[in-house]
Subunit: 321 residues, 2 copies
């Protein structure tokens, strides 16, 4: 009844995250309401093991993975993936929550216990010793597929910390990443906007995971591109012509403002950031700060990447939140 009345009040439905059970979305679709991305796409993404299987079966490069049923599965898992691998919750994981690095049988048993206590099902994925992580936003309507620039992402404690646009990799690799990302969206029959995270290891690319929504690695588009990921999300959902994904300046750097204390969400010492015309300050207005929590971000745009990075790192240190 709640879903029905919600659905009746909407013209079209999209998602802020991939954690809504796909069966509920299917129920809404069966009422005759359009959901973008569809329940089918969400089903293929929200279960990370199913996501990996879908990508692999479409010949999209992913790290080797293996289903894990219990803590007795160490031998078969390590035989397939090697000694270093990651245990992952199949559902509800984000920002490293739901991941557990395994180096030996003892780790494995602790990890299985820890993750299955919170989440019913898990799987294991080979540890990729990557040179760097890349990401790209892809847009798709019934008439167009379009992507934003490939970016470099730097994580700290599994949380996206810095995004550099465009990525400092070769043209041929950029082309490869774009092709793989677009194939990934097609593989899940995706319409709307998608953030695809990838590992680069030499000339090899592996899809790490995909998100069926605007993504932290695309926040830079608000200030750095002709059309932001949020406007293009809505355009894509409404099947309207997509806006230009070009950058306004040669380079952009986005740095997340992660909570530095467990306290109220009040921001301090941001005046220097406001004074710098290359810096765009975004504060999310969360009422509580927690160490490591995403409280805002800064985007720097300009012609000299080294300067932007230096300025950005300095500014991130100054702002207390």
């Amino acid at each position: 009844e709640i879903l029905k009345s919600f659905s009746d009040s909407c013209d079209i439905i999209t998602l802020e995250n991939e954690f809504v059970d796909h069966n509920r979305l299917k129920f809404i679709e069966n009422l005759g309401k359009k959901v973008v991305p569809s329940s089918n796409t969400i089903a293929l993404i929200q279960d990370k093991l199913l996501q990996k299987r879908t990508l692999a079966s479409n010949n999209i490069p992913v790290a080797d993975f293996h289903s894990v049923a219990s803590k007795n599965d160490y031998k078969t898992t390590s035989k397939k993936l090697g000694k270093r691998f990651i245990l992952k919750s199949r559902k509800m994981g984000y920002d490293g929550y739901g991941n557990f690095l395994v180096k030996n049988q003892n780790d494995f048993e602790i990890g299985v216990q820890k993750l299955t206590a919170r989440h019913s099902e898990i799987f294991a994925e080979k540890f990729v010793d990557f040179d760097c992580e890349l990401a790209i936003m892809v847009l798709r309507t019934s008439r167009e597929i379009k992507s934003y620039p490939v970016v470099e992402t730097i994580q700290k404690n599994h949380i996206c910390h810095t995004v550099i646009a465009p990525a400092r990799v070769s043209h041929s690799l950029i082309k490869k990443v774009k092709e793989i990302a677009i194939e990934s969206v097609i593989a899940v029959d995706g319409y709307g906007i998608f953030g695809i995270e990838l590992f680069k290891q030499g000339n090899k690319i592996f899809v790490n995971e995909m998100a069926p929504r605007p993504h932290n690695s695309g926040h830079y588009t608000i200030d750095a591109c002709v059309t932001s990921q949020f406007e293009n999300h809505i355009r894509a959902v409404l099947n309207l012509p997509l806006g230009s994904t070009k950058m306004l300046k040669p380079f952009a750097v986005m740095i997340n403002l992660l909570g530095k204390k467990n306290d109220s969400g009040i921001v301090e010492d941001y005046n220097k950031a406001l004074k710098n015309e290359n810096i765009h300050l975004h504060i999310y207005g969360k009422k509580q700060s927690r160490i490591g929590r995403k409280m805002g971000h800064i985007t720097l745009t300009g012609n000299n990447l080294d300067e932007l990075l230096k300025e950005g790192i300095k500014t991130e240190k100054q702002i207390i939140i």
Copy 2:
């Protein structure tokens, strides 16, 4: 009681328009709450006769004006202002509402009757046969005064229709306009953001009127400047460092989308606009369209002004709202 409870719920108060009675704002200030712009500034602006007197007494060039008490005042008024002048409501006028052009005694009597029926008090202002109209947004905090580029505004039926940024006038005139605009803000002891409209007649400049808020002539800043007038409004109200007012591309054209029918506010035929990456489409979501009502706007940015104007005019014709 209502004002008190409203005031208690706010940290600081600003205005969307200049039509809130300044006495109410004074009441809120007396409760100890900060209002930006202040009740005093609003008092000097919301009564257009008082505004003109304040500007004139600060040696800011304005068209000659004359107080009008009744329809018996034609002789004294026309003696001072000449045969062509405008009757204006002292309060609540906007977009030409509350204005009446007078060419003879008969017009005068009709005008006085018409305007005083709606509004208690009126005055008269000399008709300025201008070459073009200019406008500029000025920002002021306790530490900074800053302005956006001087723009050209083209009105249709007293409603702002097209804005061209920057204005196609000489550097010396730009400088003059900026000085006059800043003096105008200081004259009303203004803090916050102000839109100042001016007439250009040869090398002469007259302040037409000022608005103590973001202004239609500043809408182009959303897409065309480093910081939009809306962000800078909030920065100024909070006495924060002001954002850069520089343009991102050499030229911008803003064209209002005025209602073309009396109907629902549903927009049609905007796909071509969305396909053009120089065009930024803004729809206000008003539920009802009315002929001439401001329903949205488009902003075009780029390197070639003539092309932007041509493209803009074509696009405005295409969109049905």
